[in-house]
Symmetry: C2
Subunit: 238 residues, 2 copies
């Protein structure tokens, strides 16, 4: 399997990444090809498609680990489902599948760059393949969703003090609020005293959650994050 | 990359396979897991989904071959598009992506067997991964289709004499007619004298095409097919 490209996103860590693509459509991503594939001809005609598929590599930690059943976070993390009935990364072949909105393509000295929206990928994720989204073959409006019910709705009320929110550029503020609304915590967590840290766009967002209310109390540069021992940085089970 | 399963379909050859999944929904497929993955637990909950994704291996012939541009058959085979703007098999990583309808799951001595519909895969194709189709993440009703316009419509009138059609079991007759309607010929062919052979369900269907009319003139056992020198067995460019 050859890595053809990498994606840049605002998530240097897994914690906070939406559980599927498209859940937070404001999220920005930028795909740059590896030298061997930096040929503008290879994306000729791609700009006619509004969505593309990304086949990508799950994190190193998830390689060579799989089990027949997993505990999907959306079932509260306490019920087991077959791995093939989930999009869990702990599967025989660590390949993720995500459809993202293709916003624009630019042509640079480093080859074509694809600007995408809505990706559920960590910063730096290796990409194996890019394919056009073909609505007549890929969009099934009659599909039943099994145990995976719609979760687009806002689940938490987010209190993000203005002066802290302004640490982020204007065009990223909607995205960061919507990510927090999705509730980045592992589903079994319910401790109003617990402090969480979510890395986003070079910053670290510290917050607590009480009931349905998520309150951001601090935004610090991402580099400092590891020094703060009282902040919990949970790895989110996907 | 581990092969987790294989699919059985009615197409021992590439010629005639619809160009995407779902185009001929009547087509039957049957997925059997490799010994290591024959665990009924691994598909627990999968029956709640009506569609599944298959990640599969393109044919050996297509491995280690890729070019920046390809000629999509639906553009008449004479216009080049970037490989990443197509679903062509001649890409850096030979992985196909298809959504198929999941009809039922049975549990046998050889593990779970998935019965699917609409697959665009050759008989015996190795499967790398099976994932549930999540409509909230995977179905984009607003997606534009680039140069890949809808081709569900019947393109040819098919004359299939009843005594020849009866060579196939009842439940496969709709499928075989719809496959022929899609026009299995390479797009640049237009020769009413030319004889074609399409292998399907252990038989070989011999036909000619004149204008919009496809006429089946013979159905023979698939084994005999190689002895007939006057029949053209085109490999369909995908």
């Amino acid at each position: 399997m050859k890595i053809i490209a990498h994606i840049e996103t605002d998530f240097p860590e897994k914690f906070g990444i939406p559980r599927q693509s498209g859940i937070v459509e404001e999220l920005q991503g930028k795909i740059t090809f590896e030298p061997e594939y930096r040929n503008p001809e290879a994306v000729r005609g791609l700009d006619g498609f509004s969505y593309i598929w990304l086949l990508w590599q799950f994190d190193g930690a998830e390689k060579d680990r799989w089990s027949a059943t997993v505990k999907p976070p959306r079932l509260g993390g306490n019920q087991r489902m077959g791995v093939f009935a989930t999009r869990s990364p702990f599967r025989p072949n660590p390949i993720g599948l995500s459809s993202v909105r293709l916003e624009k393509i630019t042509f640079t000295e480093r080859g074509p760059v694809l600007y995408v929206r809505g990706a559920d990928l960590r910063d730096g994720t290796p990409i194996y393949d890019i394919k056009p989204y073909l609505p007549y073959a890929d969009c099934h409006t009659d599909a039943s969703e099994g145990f995976a019910h719609e979760i687009r709705g806002n689940r938490l009320d987010v209190i993000f003090p203005r002066e802290l929110l302004e640490e982020f550029p204007k065009e990223k503020r909607d995205a960061v609020i919507k990510v927090l609304r999705q509730d980045p915590r592992p589903s079994y967590h319910d401790d109003p005293e617990r402090k969480y840290g979510m890395a986003f766009d070079g910053k670290d967002i510290h917050f607590r959650v009480e009931g349905q209310k998520l309150t951001v109390f601090e935004v610090v540069p991402y580099e400092e994050v590891r020094k703060k021992n009282d902040i919990i940085f949970d790895k989110q089970p996907m």
